[in-house]
Symmetry: C3
Subunit: 166 residues, 3 copies
């Protein structure tokens, strides 16, 4: 079982200063994620990078959007031990059984009893906007794009849209 | 009193893959929000969508920005029961009366005693960047753009800027 | 010792409605931040504004990205008293010594014992996307761009990328 974190490697370093001008190109696609547990973290960095490589944008932005209220997207290190800590922290920070109105049939027509999932997603956020430079996503060495399943297991969809100079 | 959540409906589904090129168009406007309580959540999805429909951008991004430190913007489901849960959670997570220095005239010239409002906003965030595809905002079925008043009641301003291919 | 917060001043107010079209310009640069404590907040608003002034973009977006997993970027008021409150809150919200697996050599090859730093960054976020209008960053009067060092003291790098109409 690996104790190490996944490193993010670019083929070429980000240039100190990069300026470009030209025609605008916008390209959008979806990425599918299948979660395995109720709370579950996935590293989608390689999928986003590969989509960016194919989108033909050299300098610009890429937005990664979770299409679900109880599925979040955020940046952190990807290491088995830290993933366990993040799951534990998310579980401890929001009590699952705290008489939430969203879980009470008298007040809510939702039958998933997932108020805690909504509250956790509220703290993590549902999207990221990253920079593209030299045709690659700008990320630090240990930064990975993580998807947090907060009410799984389920099939989830991310939409990824790239915009910039071709 | 409705137990249901507001659904987000597009006139046409997001296309699987959408690629566009062309001239860049940038359009910005403000949206006014009047809050009613000290902590108060507002659904501004329809206002943002309508602004995007009028902006004449088919593929691109839209940024929604709260112009205030104690007013946040985030994504979640909009249902009366869940809104009550979110308010309760925000209130429990940050103690209002915890000897914050920002509330102490010896250390601060702020007379609103709103340290808790600042700390809650720090967790939720002040802005969102969403995708536009096919002329519409890309949102999941239950995703709504929510504004969190954290030190109301007050008149608040959001700035919304659209950028993309006309 | 000042009790006041730093105000954000534009040379001209944001226009109510601003629409532009034209060629796309993308410009990226880095900003260096040297932190002094383990948890430490820095106001980089003036540096981001100055970079935007030099980038030659009149209407568009600017993205501010922390290149590190334990260094966050967010919006709040910059006042000495409130900064102390924010540091206290971050320290209280995540226990430093809670048997995190990321700090345990049996499970992790990280020797910084900084699980708490990762968890705090997860809540604050690593980036911001702001609007540019009239050549200036769109910010409310008390809004400042803050960098949160969460595992310092260290030399940190932000990447800032501007995209819009020249």
């Amino acid at each position: 079982m690996s104790k190490s974190s996944t490193a993010t490697v670019r083929q070429s370093p980000v240039r100190d200063i990069a300026t470009s001008a030209g025609g605008l190109r916008v390209h959008g696609e979806t990425i599918a994620v299948q979660s395995a547990g109720r709370i579950d973290l996935h590293d989608v960095t390689d999928q986003v990078m590969s989509l960016v490589h194919g989108a033909g944008v050299r300098e610009g932005f890429v937005n990664v959007w979770s299409m679900h209220t109880t599925c979040a997207v955020f940046i952190n290190e990807h290491q088995r031990a830290l993933v366990a800590d993040m799951k534990r922290f998310l579980e401890e920070m929001v009590a699952r059984d705290a008489d939430w109105l969203h879980n009470d049939p008298q007040h809510s027509d939702c039958d998933r009893s997932n108020a805690d999932s909504h509250l956790r997603a509220m703290l993590l956020g549902h999207s990221l906007t990253l920079q593209i430079s030299g045709g690659e996503v700008v990320l630090g060495q240990w930064q990975r794009i993580l998807v947090a399943e907060l009410d799984g297991p389920r099939a989830r969809t991310l939409r990824v849209q790239v915009m910039g100079v071709a």
